[in-house]
Symmetry: C2
Subunit: 271 residues, 2 copies
């Protein structure tokens, strides 16, 4: 009863404290949920996932999963509830505009079991951006958030995104999404930042696989990935080493280069 | 017991019959599972989802969901089992090379509860491509498939992908993935192909939202989406209409253009 009766401001403060109290040695995880038929139909090539992935890596948050779901309420609600329970943060993109296919705010409300309301601060933002005659019902829909949500403003569009507990709801248009994400990125409670180092070789994967497997066993704290690529004249491989201890990474990178040269190939760190 | 004792060839034939018997009036659905830490870390911008999405649309299969999971067995197995139960087809990309982080074949076997084996035909393909001295243990790993799988050959790499019931397992390298996908695309039992038409307007979303919502109500068999974009001088909107009845689409496109012009804007069909 006490919690249910607490004013929104206190609830917000409590949520902030929970976030701030996250131990920084623990891996902090996130999931991304891209909402929109246009990505699944192939009409649109998603440009948001990679931007969010890079930004999360910068602030020490590990993106652990991503999903793309269509504009269908049941699918969105189920995905939001699965992901917010499993990961520290969830970032959604898409479906917060004024048209009939923009159903994300309602789905988030449903996922949290709270009603939608017209967020007073969002209404003010829209009133400042549109003449009264142009602020129609469809545009006012962009001020609707679940009760208890905080706004995520942005420098590109008057219509804000919002945060509901650990779920950040952002636009799908890349320029607006980026402005929203960059607004919240540095407020996230991340773990130690992950450093990534890449060694390129002209040797084929099949020639280095055994040695690389042994290297992974010797450096269990470093995540060693092998990514073949085409380049002029044939295949090559990027060996990517990721970890948060710079000195250990130095040793592992040197060991990988020694392995590749020992196998008769080249091993050159990409700058 | 009869089924358990049936030879693989009979099981394969039975599976093919199940696929061929799919009624073409029903919506045929698919999911895509991108496997790989490199997409989640932001190191790699995925290029496969959009290619698969467009290809599925071409053959009348609706991509209903996509997921990106890391190179972690439990996550891959869970996603494969969820998606293959929910959709008609599943396409995975990534994790079928020779290195330690290539664990997809083993995960698919685990998901289906069958052992891995060295697929005799895949071994022959590798033997034809590599001198005996170079066909090492790591490369032979690329011939491993779950028992019961059929190969998906490709024109780019000797190492094949495979199909296990309704799950198609493909490479992550885009050139190889495309060769594999294009190999199987026309074998899929799709529904009626979906036609997509796009009308561009300089009107903002907020001005057309109400009319477009009414249009969606009037054409429930057409999926009408609204996608704002930036162009020189401001925002514009692409109204995308998708459906399988060409005559109904003609009518809906004409109605949308009439709506936009009636609202004082332009409405021009993109060719």
């Amino acid at each position: 009863m006490l919690v249910a009766a607490a004013p929104a401001a206190i609830m917000t403060a409590l949520r902030s404290m929970v976030c701030a109290a996250m131990p920084s040695s623990k891996t902090v995880t996130a999931a991304v949920l891209l909402i929109g038929n246009e990505i699944l139909s192939g009409r649109t090539q998603d440009a948001n996932l990679n931007h969010i992935a890079k930004g999360l890596t910068e602030v020490g948050v590990k993106m652990a999963e991503a999903r793309v779901v269509p504009d269908i309420e049941g699918e969105i609600v189920e995905a939001v509830n699965t992901l917010r329970a499993k990961y520290d943060y969830v970032f959604t993109t898409g479906g917060i505009g004024p048209t009939h296919d923009d159903i994300t705010a309602g789905c988030i409300a449903k996922a949290f079991g709270v009603p939608l309301h017209c967020h007073p601060e969002a209404v003010k933002l829209l009133e400042a951006a549109y003449e009264p005659a142009k602020l129609n019902e469809a545009r006012l829909k962009m001020a609707e958030t679940p009760v208890g949500a905080d706004l995520v403003k942005n420098a590109v569009s008057a219509a804000p995104g919002f945060r509901m507990e650990n779920v950040y709801v952002m636009a799908g248009v890349p320029a607006i999404m980026r402005a929203m994400f960059d607004e919240v990125k540095h407020t996230l409670a991340g773990g130690p930042p992950v450093i990534s180092r890449t060694v390129a070789t002209g040797l084929p994967e099949g020639a280095i696989a055994e040695g690389l497997g042994a290297m992974q066993d010797a450096y269990p704290d470093i995540d060693i990935g092998s990514y073949p690529f085409f380049r002029q004249g044939g295949f090559g491989v990027h060996v990517v080493l990721r970890g948060s201890d710079a000195a250990r990474l130095d040793r592992a990178v040197a060991a990988v280069i020694e392995l590749l040269v020992g196998l008769g190939g080249d091993g050159i760190e990409d700058s």
